[in-house]
């Protein structure tokens, strides 16, 4: 595993050991689940609008602009709490296939979000109120739904495989 010394160093930190051996682990884990719920919940609303399934009374750009900040805020909390959990057994997690799949899903979800933001969203004026959204927007919506569901499944799997 690349950076093997780094992962070993990370999990040997006093902070890592403190989290791992105290109630901080379940505490961070419960906040993590809460944050993940809000990440998936907020992006779900955007995705369903992009798919033309619901909230069609509102322009796609408004739905997106009003919800994505919630997603990013919750992602931030999930990353901070997730890092706290990860560092307790970094060298084990990093080699865990479920954890690797989770990271892959996260990267793909992020790439999909960036592609949508910088390509598909640029001409949003032309389809903002259309009830049938363009193919690129629908692909972004489906990809997002699948990747975030993948994050949840793989994430829950990590707890069963370590």
């Amino acid at each position: 595993m690349p950076f093997a010394e780094f992962w070993t160093w990370l999990q040997a930190l006093p902070l890592s050991e403190y989290i791992g051996f105290t109630w901080w682990f379940p505490f961070l884990e419960s906040i993590h689940v809460l944050a993940v719920g809000l990440v998936v919940g907020s992006i779900l609303m955007v995705d369903l609008r992009l798919l033309g399934v619901t909230a069609l009374d509102y322009p796609a750009s408004r739905v997106t602009r009003e919800l994505v900040p919630w997603t990013w805020g919750a992602v931030l909390v999930a990353i901070v709490t997730g890092t706290g959990l990860f560092m307790t057994r970094a060298s084990v997690y990093i080699e865990n296939p479920a954890f690797q799949i989770k990271l892959l899903c996260l990267v793909l979800a992020g790439a999909n979000m960036a592609w949508f933001q910088f390509r598909t969203f640029r001409d949003v004026e032309s389809w903002d109120t259309a009830t049938v959204t363009p193919r690129a927007a629908r692909i972004a919506g489906v990809t997002s739904l699948l990747m975030w569901a993948g994050v949840v499944f793989a994430g829950r799997w990590v707890g069963h495989s370590i």
């Binding site: 109630w23 379940p26 884990e29 419960s30 906040i31 689940v33 809460l34 993940v36 719920g37 809000l38 990440v39 998936v40 919940g41 907020s42 779900l44 609303m45 619901t54 909230a55 009374d57 509102y58 408004r62 009003e66 919800l67 919630w70 569901a149 949840v152 499944f153 994430g155 829950r156 799997w157 707890g159 069963h160």
Partner: protein
């Protein structure tokens, strides 16, 4: 009552079946738990989003009454799904849950949270724009929303802590 219910469930065929499913269907425990978490996400995007809207912190361009009508049915379906995925585990190991104080706390949060969500939904259904008609109703809606959010957070946190009850007893010492 709790003891007899736990014992009756433990001895039931339903329990035997749930134990069999969880032990023999490959990946069923994490799959059911993941679906349970996705259900939480749907509650976040429906009941909790309505609460955040009532508090005036989310979705400024959307209409309260229309939001309640459009989003709350998603809450009911998510709660049904979570009841099923949750029951699988409770029926399989009743003693693990019935004698767990954190499981009790979860339901002490869940039941009022659901009742408040039903209240928001029903009155809005009876009269469109119910929660915006007067200052009194607007204030009531905000109080309900604030209490609901705290309760939903309690449900999720307690839910995760069911597996860590021993840490709480450690804290008490």
């Amino acid at each position: 009552m709790q003891e007899s219910l736990a014992r009756a469930l433990t001895d039931s065929q339903a329990s035997e079946f749930a134990v069999y499913l969880l032990g023999n269907v490959p990946g069923l425990p994490p799959i059911a738990q993941s679906i349970h978490i996705l259900g939480i996400a749907v509650v976040m995007s429906s009941a909790v989003m309505v609460d955040l809207k009532l508090l005036g912190v989310a979705l400024p361009s959307q209409n309260v009454s229309e939001m309640i009508r459009r989003l709350m049915p998603w809450t009911w379906w998510a709660l049904l799904s979570n009841a099923l995925t949750g029951l699988l585990f409770v029926v399989a190991r009743p003693n693990r849950y019935f004698y767990n104080p954190v499981f009790g706390w979860k339901f002490m949060c869940l039941v009022p949270a659901v009742l408040l969500a039903v209240l928001l939904y029903r009155l809005n259904k009876r009269e469109t724009g119910y929660w915006e008609r007067s200052t009194g109703r607007r204030v009531s809606a905000r109080v309900i929303a604030a209490v609901s959010i705290v309760l939903w957070i309690g449900v999720v946190l307690a839910g995760r802590w069911i597996a860590y009850t021993e840490y709480l007893y450690f804290l008490y010492e």
